[in-house]
């Protein structure tokens, strides 16, 4: 199996980027199940980082560690630190709602609210009182432009979000995440429910977004990781097996397990 790693990704070296999110001895349990084991990695700023691995390896749990969405699962508990810009978000005195304003999230299936396109984007700015009514139109436009959706919907902002196609809905969800101007965007298998053409658009968008944001992507699609991410973490049963530049992971894996997974001789 061969992978098409694009030029820009080939040139990337981890040294070139600054640390944005650092996991220090991070562990997570769901009840008795030890879902994440001694995670120690640094996600770099302004690149796309992919977490990949087979189902149940913990990649989504790790992603949700960055905006503490694991908190909403009653049986989940964790130890260790997660630092964003040097500050431990697991520490006391951290307001989880402020944290989530800074860390946007896009989910596996497009999940726009049952509201108009406009209201979907205006939801979070209104909630957090960050916008005067007059600025709202501008925020909606900028967010939709940021998600490469503006030209397709600018004449139908009052239509229901459900009138959009699946791929457009997912871009709307990306725009919604951009509406409160986060620094990090988490994407949890954002293309798994989309067709190939919509997938290409979202992948192109990820490459654009990383200019302004730190993008973390969960994917089980190896080709996708090779196409869009500067760095890749390969996970297996709750552990990071290997983490490094995507080029090294795909062309020169250090671990046998990684190599087996990359070459499809897994399981």
């Amino acid at each position: 199996m061969s992978y098409q790693i694009n030029e820009e990704l080939l040139r990337f070296r981890p040294k070139m980027a600054q640390d944005k999110v650092i996991f220090n001895d991070f562990n997570l349990w769901y009840g008795e199940k030890h879902a994440l084991i001694d995670i120690n990695i640094a996600v770099k700023s302004n690149i796309v980082t992919a977490f990949m691995g087979p189902s149940g390896c913990g990649k989504s749990s790790l992603l949700r560690g960055i905006n503490r969405m694991n908190d909403i699962i009653p049986v989940a508990r964790s130890t260790g630190e997660v630092l964003i810009d040097g500050k431990n978000i697991m520490g006391s005195g951290i307001n989880v709602y402020d944290l989530r304003k800074r860390v946007g999230m896009v989910f596996q299936r497009p999940n726009p609210f049952p509201m108009s396109i406009y209201d979907n984007i205006a939801y979070a700015p209104l909630l957090h009182d960050v916008a005067e009514e007059e600025e709202l139109d501008k925020i909606v436009e900028n967010s939709l432009r940021g998600a490469a959706l503006w030209d397709e919907v600018k004449d139908r902002l009052d239509d229901s979000a459900f009138s959009l196609s699946g791929g457009q809905q997912q871009r709307l969800c990306i725009a919604r995440a951009l509406s409160i101007n986060p620094d990090i965007i988490l994407m949890d298998e954002p293309c798994s429910a989309l067709d190939p053409i919509a997938t290409i658009k979202i992948e192109a968008l990820m490459r654009e977004l990383k200019e302004k944001y730190t993008v973390v992507l969960v994917t089980h699609n190896l080709q996708q990781a090779a196409r869009v991410s500067e760095m890749t973490a390969f996970m297996y049963i709750g552990e990071i097996i290997e983490f490094g530049a995507t080029r090294d992971i795909f062309e020169n894996p250090r671990e046998e397990l990684t190599e087996k997974y990359i070459t499809g001789r897994f399981g």
Partner: protein, 281 residues
């Protein structure tokens, strides 16, 4: 008998069963309409009852409207609030399960028992007297379980993805409930409330014991006024009238009650469709 002909026979039997059950409803409607429409006039609708079986039913119509409105005012917020707690906050344990079981039981509770409780507790013990207030509160006991059940169901069927999306945008749980979950559950909640209102509109035993005798000649002027209602009026005239005029008035009042009930149902349907359209379905 071979399976094929048994199939045919069973299909026919089932068709007969459905025809029998469906024919009852129009028969009742036509029957009441036929017997009741003759008496309906502006005078009948706007004057007060006289000499037991003469006069109009204005105080009864208004009494029913007051009772049901007030009952909804108490029952709907309380029921929706309970449903929100049960669906969103209550831990999934024995206590919650018992509360749920209790609510379902309450929905099937014979109304005469609720009426008796209203009489003993509200009318006598709390000294609310036989009144609009006592009647409306007792009726809201009838309404609550229906409202809670349907609303809880509606809230629970709101996709988890909406909640996750809202929380991930930094909303608190309460903000998520108010801004996303409740609007999305609105069609179901409305259905629940109006199901409860429908129960209250036609309820006889409860108002009999707690609100008034039925033949009140005045529209209630305060919460403590005894209050007549259409179901009570119908009950009294149907069982105790000696003249054709009396029976006719029972039918006339039944027709008005039916129209009120249909009004509630139709507005429920319209409100539901309005919200469904707004939600983009």
């Amino acid at each position: 008998m071979n399976p094929v002909s048994r199939e045919k026979i069973m299909k026919r039997l089932l068709l007969i069963a459905v025809a029998l059950s469906l024919i009852i409803l129009p028969v009742i409607l036509i029957w009441v309409g036929y017997n009741g429409s003759g008496i309906i006039s502006i005078e009948f609708l706007t004057s007060r009852p006289r000499l037991f079986e003469y006069g109009g039913i204005y105080p009864q119509i208004m009494g029913s409207v007051y009772l049901v409105s007030l009952c909804t005012l108490f029952g709907a917020p309380l029921g929706i609030a309970s449903a929100i707690y049960l669906a969103e906050y209550a831990p999934d344990n024995r206590i919650t399960q018992s509360v749920r079981f209790f609510t379902e039981t309450l929905a099937g509770m014979p109304s005469i028992v609720i009426g008796l409780f209203g009489l003993e507790f509200l009318v006598f013990y709390l000294q609310l007297k036989t009144s609009l207030l006592a009647g409306a509160i007792s009726l809201s006991f009838m309404m609550l379980p229906w409202t809670i059940r349907a609303s809880e169901e509606a809230i629970k069927t709101v996709p988890q993805e909406y909640r996750a999306a809202s929380l991930a945008l930094g909303a608190t749980k309460w903000q998520t409930i108010v801004n996303v979950v409740i609007p999305a559950a609105m069609p179901g909640i409305l259905t629940g409330v109006l199901l409860g209102v429908g129960k209250a509109v036609g309820e006889t035993a409860v108002v009999w014991l707690t609100a008034g005798s039925g033949l009140e000649a005045f529209v209630p002027r305060s919460l403590s006024s005894p209050t007549g209602s259409l179901p009570m009026y119908i009950y009294l005239l149907a069982t105790q009238a000696h003249t054709v005029e009396g029976v006719q008035r029972a039918y006339g009042a039944s027709l008005v009650l039916l129209i009120m009930f249909l009004g509630v149902s139709v507005s429920a349907l319209m409100a539901r469709n309005y919200y469904l359209r707004r939600l983009g379905n």
